[in-house]
Symmetry: C2
């Protein structure tokens, strides 16, 4: 008998699951139908800032597969512009409304994949719903902002929040010759970096012409006829033509909650290693689902396309009757702002302490190539190690060309729960065009191990 898989949300997690399930089961064994509120399937959400900044010309370049391609090549039906209003676990059906007609219908399922994603946090502040205030999460959001830029040609913009999206959009708006002001509550951009590393970004961003207002909290928005005209903070008023919110995202869990599907302690849908929710035959993956953090050993939410794709693939294999497990995350993330590349993995100093580790950190300045080789650029590598054992807990890199992807080596080391002592002797590639003889990563490991050893000797001498 043919089974039916219903997928809610037709982007990274949902369509990865659909595709992986299809590879396990032919269309005569498994019917697959996916619903999405928006106008697109399977697009690169991480590419949106580069579409807004016009590094990418056409929105179609961000789309990996259209509904037509899913239908033709994979026998997967993707219905865009459809809202799923309700999940009924007893009836094993979802209530769906077609946006263009308003027609509602119950669609039955044997298996249900929840991939509802996340929504940008919109602060509960006066004026926060005004026109001209943009949150950027979906491709439709991205199109709305780019068309506003083309239409309004704003002179000034304020970015609220200095995380990945905030920084990437700040750079994108600079490409439109917009005067960009970043307002951020913390002492340095990028709260996922330790402040000593984040502060390296300030000079680069100012040099690029951005205005940074750090340690400043937004308290509201001034509006005129429903249109935002200024951002109000605890320290002043910043007139603006456009606001972009970069305050992070919240998992979309309302549908699941209303159906009685359990959330976890981090506020996402609780799932096991196979991406099963607490409800029989119901799976969840991507931004709406919790992930196991391998270093803290706690569930977290983390809205990243890489996790969404891998989790979707894992769920799809299991839905199709195969076996796959998602082993969890370690918090690796990279980006660039102006001429600086940024990478981080594992725990920051404060996170490590909060998770019950006693961290010991070193930060080392080096170069991306041999010092004598043309084009060598500065790079700073910070390692967070556990006092006593020297276990690697986290790493952060800020530097010019060639810096960001170096974090992958440290991510791989962290993944395997290595110590900085073992790390320092690892056999990494070396040639003068690509690194100093001691790669920055290995120098940092050597320094970190020296710090751990010295600390141990001191501890031994204490009475």
């Amino acid at each position: 008998m043919t089974q039916r898989l219903v997928v809610i949300g037709a982007d990274a997690a949902g369509m990865s699951a659909a595709s992986a399930a299809r590879r396990e089961r032919d269309a005569d064994e498994l019917e697959i139908i996916a619903f999405d509120q928006g106008n697109y399937t399977s697009y690169s959400a991480c590419g949106i800032p580069y579409f807004i900044g016009r590094d990418v010309d056409e929105v179609t370049e961000l789309i990996a597969r259209t509904p037509d391609e899913f239908a033709r090549n994979h026998h997967i039906e993707a219905r865009i512009r459809h809202d799923v209003l309700n999940i009924d676990l007893d009836r094993r059906a979802v209530l769906v409304r077609a946006r263009h007609t308003g027609a509602e219908a119950w669609e039955g399922f044997d298996q249900l994949m929840i991939a509802t994603g996340a929504t940008p946090v919109r602060p509960a502040l006066p004026g926060a719903d005004a026109a001209g205030i943009y949150g950027v999460q979906t491709l439709d959001d991205g199109l709305a902002l780019r068309s506003a830029l083309e239409r309004v040609r704003p002179r000034r913009a304020v970015i609220v929040g200095a995380g990945y999206i905030g920084l990437e959009l700040a750079e994108a708006l600079c490409a439109w010759n917009v005067e960009v002001t970043l307002v951020h509550r913390g002492p340095a951009p990028m709260a996922t970096l330790d402040p000593d590393m984040g502060s390296m970004l300030i000079e680069a961003m100012q040099g690029f012409g951005m205005t940074l207002r750090l340690g400043e909290t937004v308290t509201g928005f001034e509006t005129d006829a429903g249109q935002v005209t200024a951002v109000v903070t605890d320290q002043g008023t910043i007139p603006t033509d456009l606001v972009v919110l970069g305050l992070g995202v919240r998992p979309n869990t309302a549908l699941a909650e209303q159906a009685g599907i359990s959330l976890g302690p981090a506020g996402g849908i609780a799932v096991d290693r196979q991406l099963r929710t607490g409800a029989e035959g119901v799976w969840a993956a991507g931004d709406c689902a919790e992930k196991f953090h391998r270093v803290t050993r706690r569930p977290v939410t983390m809205a990243l396309g890489t996790h969404a794709n891998k989790e979707g693939r894992t769920a799809g294999i299991n839905i199709g009757g195969g076996y796959a497990a998602f082993p969890g995350v370690i918090g690796t993330a990279i980006t660039k702002v102006c001429n600086l590349e940024i990478g981080r993995t594992g725990l920051g100093e404060a996170e490590a302490t909060e998770a019950g580790f006693d961290p010991l950190t070193v930060a080392v300045d080096s170069t991306t190539r041999a010092g004598y080789y043309p084009g060598a650029k500065p790079i700073r590598t910070k390692l967070i190690a556990e006092r006593g054992t020297g276990r690697l807990l986290g790493a952060q890199i800020v530097g010019e060309e060639g810096a960001a992807k170096r974090i992958d080596v440290l991510a791989m080391a962290l993944w395997h729960e290595t110590t900085v002592e073992e790390l320092l002797n690892t056999d990494l590639g070396y040639a003068p065009p690509f690194s100093p003889l001691w790669d920055p990563v290995l120098i940092a490991a050597r320094m970190s191990w020296q710090a751990v050893s010295a600390d141990r000797m001191l501890a031994d001498r204490r009475p």
Copy 2:
């Protein structure tokens, strides 16, 4: 009582050992004296091709520390232009000759560090000792070649051998507008790559103007008045003004052998994890010493500055009374030729078979950035996995900008004896300027795991 450490060879391994020993012991506890045949201490041998190609202007840029700096800052006496002629283990002394005076003297030691390096292989062929035939290993070799280029301004050059040095020097000579011909016995450049990966280099090198003569064996050299005039092969005669040998190097073990210190099966000086030789108080490190290969579990020789530095550091800590162990190597190496970057780690396909593994390989074409992001370049990643278990055995990458250092992630995975299944779910960094959503490394792991799984299913079905 003050002990005395004598170091033979004052480059990477020797001076790393000296420096590490000094950090453990002050000058009143340990006197350190190093001898070197050449004119320089602690230089970047890997930088020599870039000095020859004039990416690096001055030879001094390649020197990390001069004898003066060692004396002043580290109380290490480095005597350059001194040959060590003999090691007498019973007398615990070495016989040293000063090149400038010819004077010989015995120098006593408590500890002896042998860091005699390696010498380019010079084939036993007619004319191989002619003037104009260069092997490039030491900085003095590099200076000799560069001064020949400046003096002779050769129109044509032949490189014999297409390994790292051969390729790097081929590119360096192109920078002098020399017509470069590469003669190589094998079917593709870079024998440390599998032929299918090595063949990717051919087009790039030809496009750069080099002539490649593959599958061709050098049988001798024609000379005129002691000066080389042509390279003779089994397929013809190649007139030339200059020849560079890129046939690899041989560990310099004669001194150790003559003293009765044991060599290992790979032909280098046998050492343990702490870099002890078989003789009490005698240590060896760098190109002259064997290394443990963590994948084949056999000793190998491998002339790389990275190993030399780490081994030297390890030996020096132990000589100074601390404890350190060198965990071995996995054969990671990177370089560039023309517009292509090359990385490899672990075992190639043939090496894996030779070591007793049953390998299964995949090669995957991808891009260095998200496909839609400006500047995305092609990159091919090959993984060698163990049939049945899916254990990662080796990896090779060839591609444009950003390709080479990606091998480090695979090196780190290999170091930790992971499987391609575990690898495919690893949490690596992603942002469109730096990789596709599925990093090339992860795509390759996914494909490799699919191949291993499919092969297992087939094996299960066999009667």
